[in-house]
């Protein structure tokens, strides 16, 4: 099914400047792999050597942090929006 992956500015050069990429996927892991297949280089920036999410990358599905859901295995429904957002400090 089609899902939308939203990218932060740092990753947009990898996909030709677009802020969003629409791909076919049923999990977050598949969505990242699908963007990687279209635009090689993205996965290495978001995932570590073990294939897990990097420490300073947050992923949101339907406005929920996937670390509260099923991580990279979080199931996506049709039309889901997956946002990749760098962690930022504050307070």
């Amino acid at each position: 099914m089609s899902v939308t992956v939203r990218l932060p500015s740092q990753l947009r050069t990898l996909v030709g400047g677009a802020g969003e990429v629409v791909v076919e996927a049923t999990t977050v892991r598949e969505a990242i792999a699908a963007v990687e297949a279209l635009h090689p280089g993205l996965a290495a920036r978001v995932l570590d050597d073990a294939g897990e999410l990097r420490r300073f990358v947050n992923v949101f599905v339907a406005d929920e942090d996937v670390r509260f859901l099923d991580g990279l295995n979080t199931i996506l429904t049709a039309g889901a929006v997956v946002s990749l957002v760098p962690a930022v400090a504050g307070g």
Partner: protein, 416 residues
């Protein structure tokens, strides 16, 4: 003159020029301002610092370049006060309070905002912004007002009334978000993409902003007579302040300004939002985010970006982190006020309650000097105490009434 030479990724070491950039292009790791400490050695002396202004800018050599004139309401150079009466009640030998309630807008955030907006002006920005749990928003709005800049501050809608008012009064745009700080933070990470011409103090200016917290370490060491305290206890929200305090001590050591052992770093969190304390206790530095539920709103960050670094600082120095209940926070605010005449916001209550917990646990040594950071003024969190801090008696303006009320109060006190 600043000895800053650019930005460097804490994770992978990639370097960048001193521009507005909030994370590493390669790995999303946080960027830090890098300094040429070799060049600073011998130039930055105790005398040079001591002859500087009574603000954080006495340490301008070791802060980001302010471009000629800092954006400055007078942040920093706050009192370091010996707290013997509180120390006696808690049972510790030598306790000092770094009283950062005494900043221009009542919290340590003035240090980081002065740094961030000075860099922002140097880089050509003309609008100030931030994601905030309250104190940062107030400070950004105030400094922007003093500059004549518009500001856009983004806060959770359910903040303490006093913090909202203290921010809105400066006349900027205040966006109150229906959500918690982590939602606000995420929104701002996206807003910075659609408004790249806004200087978000803790997003695209974050590297410069964070450096301001080093001045807590610099001042503590200088005020102790160019010595390090044995132990330092700081509140933890994002983890940035504690991490930068430790960095500040290291820079002073490296420059030969202070000799001796670096302080052991201790942290303080509220039990209703203690992802850092939990990860430290579990022996990991992978933080599991939480949904905050505590009266200590200024520390209510469930997904703390600099948490892993704060954990490293505590673990490697032999420190620990407290996790205290809201009731303990309220009791500690009152105890600090009653014994030392210092009125702290809830974050200060978290620190004093953690001090007691960690001394009890034996990880904080009661026989060695301790410096506790009191990061914000109590007027900011009046909501928390307004129901318990009330008049002893309400009386008519008659002497007999006053005497009767005093006698009743005296009897009550005697019975306790």
């Amino acid at each position: 003159m600043s000895f800053a030479v650019g930005l460097r990724c804490r994770e992978c070491g990639t370097t960048y020029p001193a521009e507005a950039r909030y994370s590493c292009d390669m790995c999303f790791g946080p960027l830090e301002v890098a300094y040429d400490l070799d060049a600073a050695k011998g130039v930055v002396t105790r005398e040079r610092i001591a002859s500087g202004p009574s603000s954080i800018w006495r340490y301008a050599d070791l802060l980001p370049d302010h471009g000629g004139e800092p954006v400055d309401l007078g942040a920093g150079w706050t009192p370091l006060r010996r707290a013997d009466r509180l120390a006696a009640e808690i049972g510790v030998k030598e306790l000092w309070l770094k009283d950062d309630t005494r900043n221009p807008t009542g919290s340590f955030k003035d240090r980081v905002v002065s740094c961030a907006l000075s860099s922002a002006r140097r880089l050509g920005f003309t609008t100030a912004a931030c994601a905030s749990t309250g104190n940062l928003a107030t400070s950004v709005a105030a400094h922007a007002a003093a500059l004549g800049w518009p500001s856009v501050t983004v806060i959770p809608a359910d903040l303490e009334k006093s913090k909202v008012a203290m921010t809105a009064i400066f006349g900027g745009t205040v966006l109150a978000v229906d959500g918690n700080y982590d939602d606000v933070n995420r929104l701002c990470a996206e807003l910075v993409d659609s408004h790249p011409d806004w200087a978000f103090a803790n997003v695209n200016l974050r590297a410069y902003y964070a450096e301001g917290s080093k001045t807590l370490a610099f001042e503590i060491a200088e005020q102790l007579g160019w010595r390090f305290p044995a132990q330092v206890l700081a509140p933890i929200a994002s983890g940035s302040q504690l991490t930068k305090i430790a960095k500040g001590f290291r820079e002073f050591l490296e420059l030969g300004l202070v000799e001796g052992d670096l302080p052991i770093m201790f942290g303080a969190q509220a039990a209703g939002c203690s992802p850092v304390a939990t990860a430290l206790a579990d022996g990991t530095n992978v933080i599991r985010p939480v949904k905050p539920n505590t009266i200590a709103r200024s520390l209510a960050i469930g997904n703390p970006a600099d948490g892993p670094y704060a954990i490293d600082e505590m673990r490697l120095s032999g420190g620990d982190c407290g996790s205290v209940s809201d009731q303990e926070v309220l009791d500690s605010i009152a105890q600090l006020a009653r014994t030392e005449g210092v009125f702290a916001e809830t974050a200060g209550g978290v620190v004093i309650a953690s001090l007691k917990q960690l001394v009890e646990r034996g990880t904080l040594d009661r026989n060695k000097p301790i410096v506790a950071i009191i990061s914000g003024h109590g007027l900011k969190t009046l909501d928390a105490i307004v129901d318990t801090a009330v008049p002893t008696a309400v009386i008519s303006p008659k002497l007999a009434d006053a005497e009767a009320a005093l006698a009743r109060h005296h009897q009550l006190e005697a019975a306790l």
